[in-house]
Symmetry: C2
């Protein structure tokens, strides 16, 4: 962890820079696989599943029997934990429902906005060493509350052609309608074009490695929406002397264990805390099974001393963290003035891992500074708002002339005529 | 206008297909200009303004004096019309404000969601023959209501180095903070990277030709959000014998005059209406100044006879129109069951041009079937939602074990440890 004391604003850009990712060489592979799957569907999917996942499957769709068997394997205490987390996620996302917005903007001109569910969505859940069943909850729970009709989940099989029990259990618990053993680029391509087995969807959600990220970006060129562009996970902690150094260290490490490219930043107005946290990290790191990954990630870590509070706020907003922990004497100052962050964790007893699993907030969040413009996944991510308008004869008499004048000034005579032809009948 | 009677579902895909756009040859030009502007800033912008707009400017920033002079040139009756339209747009978008969503998901676990403005945004307004000042209203009014701090507008200058008076007038009226005489790819690149003159923004809004569309897509690769992918404008009208054929024709023509690639579709359960509308189009077309453009667009137009109401609904949802006019005996059936549309216009006295200018709804809408997953521009387009959580000691005692179990099952020991280390102090 590199310590930087009172950097000048000119140096901020270098400090907040994320570890770079190279995508250009990936793009050609992704484009080729997309093209093949758009042509050959399931056959091409099977080819890439064999190539990348090392397994030949009889069928890529997970059967009801497989799901039942998987559910039986999940320990009861974990089922209880998943149930509690699910209940909190449900409460928080259900509370995000909005009512129809209706306004009579001019007498006789009724406008309203209603949200309707995206009908078909795809969820991508990565494979690998750890089964990320928590992400199934974070995506499928709000999708179900929103009322999405088709919720398709793709996740890579292991070499035995299986999916982690916890993922299958969580998927059926949260109303996923179809599950496919398909991973990586081929999963995103399948959801983009549709195949004999996999339905074409309108929006794709979920994390993934660089191949998945580039594939999701390419999907947007084919008219498919995505939740957000993804990058390595990150955490910024702003803490003062009131913070507990060992807690701060544990939070920074929980972020660092995600991957070698994870980034953690600590900002404080006191050198003592920076030093204490550094000591605590050293200590706690030794105990961690993923200490090698965390150690690599810590090479990108920065401890920044900023004594002025307003300047610290500016720095935090400029960084635009995916996860932001605030542990200071005056948390409200930061809460009130934060403009850019994905999810914010307040006080000494709110570890980031609470939001990763069970508090109820979503853990699919904008990384890489994208929180300057993007929200994390929330109920609205699964809805679109549609506007409606209904104008009475009187209403058209009231605004008709305004429309005519503006259409004429824009040189769009047919736009004007659509009003004039009606007004003529009304006069 | 091609008439298709009772097509089978297999034929729908061919009917709803939009006129294709080729982007591959544009991409290399866009990539090159982006690279040059990211390196050379204003200098490169000036080079491309000379090349594409045929003008060498002393300064690309519009001065206060220029704005004042432009405002003086706008006729008073147009100013009144713009004022009325602005008032309606303001009413409808201000009504879309939402309150903080706060839930105590578990005793001691307080979660909330707040929306905060995107701080810096860019608005792109195309040049060309017609000054699209209405789009300035549609983008700048909600941006101001949302509280965006920096609202930067770029629009190409004409050969005299000027911008249309109406655009400058509307921009200052709606709180645009900076206006630049920069168009096309170079404008999008300038807003993406920032130059000596143009501020870097976090999100870019606004319509444009294929070059602008591809440039906005490329901007997303550089971490800049965009309002939505754009395509040619389109209208679907669903009408039965209760509709007025000449009104329907006028609406279809108002869409057709946008561009040769605009698409209009009429769906009806009665052959008579299809025939009457076709006749009316012939008649009204003759009077239009933009009749050549409209005639070309009408070559892509389709009149589809679908007698079954449920099937008509499915077709309308499958098309997912940018603009949808419903003029039938039972409009509520369609209103209640529409899942995919940008903006909906109901009844005989609600022409699409009302929403283009003055009813209050937004006219920046998803084309090309994107309304299956995208909303039109609305207040939320200028905001991000941030989640917050604050857990008390008691709250952590309540959910701590749930987090520990789930983190352990995902193999993320440091995530677990961030909770365990706190629980130890609390027990």
């Amino acid at each position: 962890m590199k310590t930087i004391e009172n950097p000048s604003k000119q140096d901020w850009q270098a400090i907040i820079e994320r570890p770079t990712q190279k995508v250009s060489d990936i793009e050609s592979i992704v484009t080729e696989i997309f093209s093949e799957i758009s042509q050959d569907g399931d056959k091409a999917i099977a080819k890439y599943t064999e190539k990348f996942d090392g397994v030949v499957l009889d069928t890529m769709k997970v059967s009801t029997l497989e799901i039942e068997e998987a559910a039986n394997q999940v320990p009861d205490n974990l089922k209880v934990a998943i149930g509690k987390a699910k209940a909190n996620i449900e409460k928080f996302h259900a509370a995000q429902k909005t009512k129809k917005v209706e306004v009579e903007t001019t007498n006789g001109v009724l406008c309203w906005q209603e949200k309707r569910a995206i009908q078909k969505i795809g969820l991508y859940i990565p494979g690998g060493t750890a089964p990320l069943f928590s992400t199934v909850l974070m995506l499928a729970v709000p999708a179900q509350i929103a009322g999405c009709k088709e919720i398709v989940l793709c996740t890579p099989p292991n070499k035995e052609g299986k999916i982690a029990n916890e993922i299958l259990y969580a998927a059926q618990l949260c109303g996923v309608t179809k599950i496919f053993k398909v991973g990586g680029i081929q999963a995103i391509a399948g959801l983009t074009f549709g195949t004999q087995s996999i339905p074409k969807v309108s929006k794709i959600f979920g994390p993934g490695n660089q191949f998945v990220t580039v594939a999701k970006q390419l999907a947007t060129k084919h008219g498919i929406a995505i939740d957000m562009p993804a990058g390595p996970s990150e955490l910024l902690v702003i803490a003062d002397a009131s913070a507990n150094a060992s807690y701060v260290a544990s939070d920074l490490l929980s972020q660092a264990e995600h991957g070698a490219d994870s980034q953690v930043i600590l900002v404080s107005d006191t050198k003592e805390l920076l030093a204490e946290v550094a000591d605590e990290i050293e200590k706690q790191l030794l105990e961690l099974p993923r200490k090698e990954i965390a150690t690599q990630a810590l090479q990108n870590a920065k401890a920044v001393l900023i004594e002025n509070r307003e300047e610290a706020l500016d720095f935090v907003n400029e960084y635009a963290a995916e996860h932001l922990i605030i542990a200071t004497r005056n948390n409200d100052f930061f809460i009130d003035n934060i403009t850019n962050a994905g999810s914010v964790f307040i006080g000494n007893y709110t570890p980031e891992s609470a939001g990763d699993y069970a508090s109820g907030t979503n853990h699919t969040l904008p990384t890489n500074g994208f929180s300057k413009a993007y929200s994390g996944v929330n109920l609205d991510s699964f809805l679109k708002s549609i506007t409606f308008q209904k104008i009475s004869k009187k209403g058209l008499l009231n605004i008709g002339n305004t429309i005519e004048l503006m259409a004429e000034a824009e040189g769009l005579q047919a736009h004007k005529n659509a009003v004039s032809i009606r007004l003529k009948d009304l006069s």
